[in-house]
Subunit: 303 residues, 2 copies
């Protein structure tokens, strides 16, 4: 059975719709505002942004773009001169409460067609979900990783350990020697390898996409009514500063978008509404902030 | 006459001391706090940070570091395997009032010694001053550029036009199609070329360094008592977000520092205390914010 672009796009649009509806329900106040945009070179997207009672600033974007693959990128990807097609859903949610984590999800599909030899096509799936708690809570971290493991295990027993490590390595703020959060899963270039069919890879994309709402809504409901004060808000703003540092300095997706004249407002919807920088900020020994920092490490086994 | 490292370092330390003293006087409340640090590979610095009534967050850093030039950098600079020595003063000031501009200055000296052939040395001066007003004020922009032109003209009539253009090109937020601010001057790799001696290049560094206080204190005094409200503060926070974007995405100095395991807290002292991101922020037609945006362009002749 051959999976087509059309099927993948249909799934992703529906995923965006489902997630937006469930997030609006959970928020209770905020409503998504949509911007439809077109890419001059081909294709376009639907950027949706919410500001509400649960989510201070959040974006759920769908895009499906196509055109000539910039030479810089075909070289980096080790591909011949090609036409490309790329579609995906990207989410970043910055909650109001510092007790609720920041979450990020991306699921994407990428395809190229060799210009000289149109029969020669390449395709792969990529994506992931990762969590950036302002305060790391062990029970929540376990729930998060166990949920991702369950989604992965339906497809292959090697997926979770492999993609968990990939996330640890990817979401790393090298200049801080800190991970961005507690990781999650990250994968790329999943193609017709190791006996997997395109249908199986697409099924996996759907398992990841469909796991987003149950995971996030559980974590949000569990924590959104916890009390917090100035200390927690200040810490949230500092943690958001680190989020900005990762996205603007190290994130290859952001770099790719800004380098290839992507739609800046859609790429930078990941930026928090407010972030702080305090010179040489130090946490108090034994504090919850210190405990969180001590857990922002690669290789923690949460399962 | 041969200018030595010692002389350059002595000038830069005195420059840091002078600027810190004058900024404390102007601030009236804030006092600089100093961190002395050592670089594992050789050398170190004095990072000084102020929080006060005029300056919400400001850093005036001196450093003099040395060691093996990382291969990545010797290749990028087209140099053989070398020892390097680098010294400079870097300043970024984020004022409390949105009516007072953000200012940045850097003056630096760089030297390499070929490991195979220690007689083969290379040296150059680099640096610049640029201004990022939250609201562009024509009179202030003229004063700023005229002051820089006067400092340049003492040395060479070509300096100002050349270095002004260089600043326009350098301080450019490509993904926003905006300049960071109204530019200023930027120069690099000034060596013993075109008939200039090392002494003359060093003299120029001193003219730039010495122009900082008269320029900034004039602009600060002129504007610090102007009234402002929420609208101006919100705009300041958005403009600071753009400042973060430039520094983390495009600034080669920041990238160099983070790539070479520089002292993160000293490199990122340029970050504002608070920054905001608003999805797809639009300014009102005919507003002062719109006027400012219309002036964030390359090639404006302020003189």
């Amino acid at each position: 059975m051959n999976i087509t672009r059309t099927e993948i796009v249909a799934y992703l649009k529906k995923l965006q719709d489902d997630i937006c509806r469930q997030l609006e329900n959970a928020d209770g106040i905020g409503k998504f505002k949509e911007d439809k945009w077109e890419r001059p070179g081909g294709g376009g997207g639907r950027s949706r942004v919410i500001q509400g009672a649960l989510i201070e600033k959040g974006g759920v974007n769908f895009s499906a773009v196509e055109g000539n693959l910039p030479e810089k990128i075909s070289q980096a990807l080790n591909l011949p001169a090609s036409q490309f097609f790329a579609t995906g859903v990207s989410i970043v949610l910055h909650p109001v409460s510092p007790m609720v984590p920041i979450i990020h999800m991306n699921v994407r599909y990428f395809e190229t067609v060799n210009k000289e030899n149109p029969e020669q096509t390449t395709w792969w799936f990529g994506g992931g979900i990762d969590l950036t708690p302002h305060y790391v809570v062990k029970e929540d971290s376990q729930f998060f990783h166990q949920s991702l493991k369950a989604a992965c295990d339906q497809h292959d027993a090697d997926y979770y350990p492999k993609f968990k490590k990939w996330a640890d390595d990817y979401f790393y703020i090298k200049h801080r020697k800190e991970t961005r959060g507690i990781g999650g899963i990250f994968y790329d270039r999943l193609s017709e390898q190791y006996g997997f069919t395109k249908e199986q890879r697409f099924d996996f994309m759907q398992s990841v996409g469909n796991s987003f709402c149950p995971i996030y809504l559980h974590l949000a409901e569990k924590n959104r009514h916890l009390p917090f004060g100035d200390q927690e808000k200040n810490w949230q703003f500092i943690r958001r500063g680190r989020y900005v540092e990762f996205n603007l300095v190290w994130d290859r997706g952001t770099k790719f978008g800004l380098d290839t004249d992507g739609r800046t407002e859609s790429i930078l919807m990941s930026m928090p509404p407010v972030a702080n920088w305090v010179y040489n900020h130090q946490v108090e020994e034994g504090s919850r902030e210190a405990e969180t920092l001590s857990l922002l490490k690669k290789g923690v086994d949460w399962v």
